[in-house]
């Protein structure tokens, strides 16, 4: 029976629309996957030598053990937001004569073949091998430690299932984590120390691999029981429907003609999983600058800083904007046959992006800490985003034409929905635009001129807003039939 399930899964995977998109995408994706795997493997090897170099008096594995709790916590958070659970697919199996337990075992087994479960493998495995090759470690200890790490990863996998499906579990775990975080922050009690001690003990006593094994088995059983009890259409596998209230959002009426569209966009973002995910990701973009501004290497390369500064405020703009009009793909026919002026529709999307840049800019004020030069760059980057990047992104969106399922989370890493080569092409001016506009005057004159040029380019874009919107509107009109056809393709 399992064999047949696997065959079905394979068909689902290989026949899904995004997989049939052409060889270029597949190659790109394969490269992307290889890159991540390669990075993880490299980190695994580099971690050993790096730790040995910087902390020669300590055992690398002890250091890893002391900090691995952060890895697992981050893993948990990322999974909660990004991992897609294969819940709904079992509906067709409910009425055919297969034992429920088989279906549930398969469903749970399937969650273990997730990118999230493989990524740690690529770190821990090279790290363990490097330990064995270069250090004086016993195979038994390392092997049992490695399997413990894997079992912890799988435990998180199953815990995540519960977190997503059971509010009680979610609140308990969330409050535990917050409590631990607060205790740590105020220095009342350090949770990471016993955690480090715990992981070191697991390493020192090979039979301790039984602890994560038992933990995983226990979580698996809990999951099994939870699903078994609710194996009905209206149970665990169903989409939950909460009571919702009509929101008037009358405060948006002040925006006049674009108000109806703005209201819908705000509701769209608040009520669907995919846009919420985008919102979260764009919040993370705010921290992008930390990578660049803290490293001395980049201080000598202001072109990179210009690029980073654009990213700090442009997260929402780019991740949301590249999927205009795909966000409305589910009801695009309605929009096209209704009494809708295209311009107002576009302007609403554009306004939303501009407002998001402004909010990001306000939130980025702590960057003043890195000096006024940096903050000036962020301000100029924000202007560039509002005046030019917004239009480039909107223009790219219409060439995109990929239907988006609003209330389905994008799968981490297999997220080709809403992604194609046109996106890459259109990304070029977004990335190199600010670099060139800044770098050329910077090289020729000085730093301040570079910033001013970047800012002025954005202001010019804002001045010509109407012109740009008109041009984009024309492209949208021209692409209308193609877009409708693409959006009504079965997913």
């Amino acid at each position: 029976m399992f064999k047949r399930f696997i065959a079905l899964e394979w068909k689902q995977f290989s026949r899904s629309s995004y997989f049939q998109k052409g060889i270029a995408i597949k190659i790109l994706l394969a490269f992307g996957a290889l890159y991540f795997i390669g990075m993880a493997a490299f980190m695994g090897v580099a971690a050993y030598f790096g730790l040995q170099k910087f902390m020669p008096d300590k055992d690398p594995i002890t250091i890893v053990n002391n900090f691995v709790i952060y890895w697992f916590l981050a893993d948990m958070v990322f999974r909660y937001f990004l991992q897609q659970l294969p819940v709904l697919n079992i509906k067709p199996y409910m009425v055919i004569p297969i034992k429920r337990s088989v279906v549930i075992h398969f469903l749970l087994g399937k969650t273990s073949i997730s990118f999230f479960n493989f990524l740690p493998l690529f770190f821990f495995l090279p790290f363990s091998i490097t330990l064995l090759v270069n250090g004086d470690y016993s195979i038994l200890h390392i092997a049992s430690w490695f399997f413990s790490m894997m079992l912890f990863t799988l435990s998180i996998n199953y815990l995540n299932f519960l977190l997503n499906k059971n509010n009680k579990v979610f609140y308990v775990i969330a409050s535990l984590l917050i409590a631990a975080g607060l205790l740590q922050f105020y220095g009342i009690y350090s949770v990471t120390e016993p955690a480090g001690y715990f992981f070191n003990t697991i390493y020192n006593k090979p039979y301790a691999v039984l602890i994560p094994l038992l933990l995983m088995v226990m979580l698996y059983r809990v999951n099994f029981k939870f699903i078994r009890k609710d194996f009905y259409l209206d149970g665990a596998i169903s989409k939950e429907t909460k009571d919702v209230h009509t929101q008037e959002l009358t405060w948006l009426n002040r925006f006049g003609k674009i108000a109806p569209f703005l209201k819908n966009d705000v509701r769209m973002i608040m009520r669907n999983k995919r846009p919420k995910q985008v919102l979260l990701m764009s919040f993370l973009f705010l921290f992008y600058g930390l990578i660049f501004y803290t490293q001395e290497t980049y201080q000598e390369m202001p072109a990179f800083l210009a690029f980073a500064s654009m990213f700090v405020t442009g997260g929402f703009l780019m991740s949301f904007g590249q999927l205009v009009p795909s966000w409305d793909s589910e009801y695009y026919k309605l929009l096209m046959s209704q009494n809708i002026p295209y311009r107002e529709y576009l302007k609403s999307k554009w306004s939303l992006m501009v407002v998001a840049v402004l909010i990001s800019f306000i939130l980025s004020t702590p960057y003043i800490y890195f000096g006024w030069d940096i903050f000036g760059m962020i301000a100029a980057g924000a202007l560039f985003n509002m005046g030019l990047n917004s239009f480039i992104t909107l223009y790219g969106g219409v060439l995109n034409r990929v239907p988006v399922e609003l209330n389905v989370r994008a799968k981490a890493f297999s997220n080709t929905q809403g992604f194609n080569p046109t996106q890459l092409l259109i990304a070029l001016p977004k990335i190199f635009g600010p670099i060139l506009i800044f770098y050329i005057p910077y090289k020729l004159i000085n730093f301040e001129t570079g910033i001013i040029c970047l800012a002025v380019s954005g202001v010019l874009g804002l001045v010509f807003t109407n012109f740009f919107l008109n041009q984009i509107e024309k492209v949208y009109q021209k692409q209308k039939y193609k877009t409708i056809a693409a959006f009504s393709e079965k997913k």
């Binding site: 009801y331 309605l334 046959s337």
Partner: protein
């Protein structure tokens, strides 16, 4: 109101619709029947300029639909669920359509009062998004939304499908009243011959993209249609 001239639509060399001439006068309730693949939805999609004709054109109130958008203010339609915005509540959806059609919230509320019976307490104040309503209730919301703002042309693709018997009867009443008391041109497609003969003054049968029958509805129409389809 609507006139079709030499309209054709091909997909990869296969003709799916070919109508030489069809005129639908203002105020007519017009029924379109035909088996699957006969071209009903294709015709409606062409009428709404959702797909491009391979040849010929449709005029809606003297406006060629694929050249100008001027027909949009007086035309409204409900073809399928993709005409609903899933993440809105029914009220929000009605207000949104209302705003597009120049009706404020109070107008829409007044309008909705007339259809309380039709909604049967299953649409308004349900605290649910449209995507979480049943198929039948989604359809009810979509049909009524298509009537907001007194459009001159209303296009409904299979409005009776998925509706419960009581609602089907109520919908027939609504369509008949619309036909008798207003000058609205109503275009309906249906697989249910009884319903369509009951509410439509004129019925056109499509087969493989061509019009094969054009009947002014009378007592004998149902029998004629049944005889035609029983082949």
């Amino acid at each position: 109101m609507i006139s079709v001239s030499n309209l054709s639509k091909d997909y990869n060399g296969v003709t799916v619709l070919n109508i030489d001439n069809l005129d639908i006068p203002t105020g007519e309730s017009f029924g379109l029947v035909g088996n699957n693949g006969a071209g009903k939805t294709t015709f409606f999609s062409l009428l709404l300029d959702l797909i491009q004709p391979s040849g010929g054109y449709i005029k809606n109130n003297h406006i060629i639909v694929n050249e100008s958008e001027e027909w949009k203010p007086f035309t409204s339609s409900f073809i399928d669920e993709s005409f609903l915005i899933g993440y809105l509540t029914a009220e929000e959806y009605f207000y949104f359509i209302g705003e597009l059609r120049g009706q404020n919230k109070a107008d829409v509320n007044d309008f909705l009062k007339k259809y309380e019976e039709f909604f049967n307490d299953e649409i308004l104040q349900k605290k649910k998004y449209l995507r979480d309503l049943s198929k039948g209730n989604q359809k009810k919301a979509g049909i009524i939304a298509a009537l907001i703002g007194n459009p001159d042309v209303v296009i409904l693709d299979e409005p009776f499908a998925n509706l419960d018997p009581t609602t089907q009867i109520r919908l027939k009443k609504i369509i008949k009243e619309l036909n008798q008391h207003t000058d609205t041109t109503i275009l309906i497609s249906s697989h249910d011959l009884i319903h369509v003969t009951e509410v439509c003054e004129r019925i056109v049968v499509l087969d493989k993209g061509a019009t094969v029958k054009d009947i002014q509805t009378s007592q004998a129409t149902l029998e004629e249609l049944e005889a035609y389809f029983n082949r």
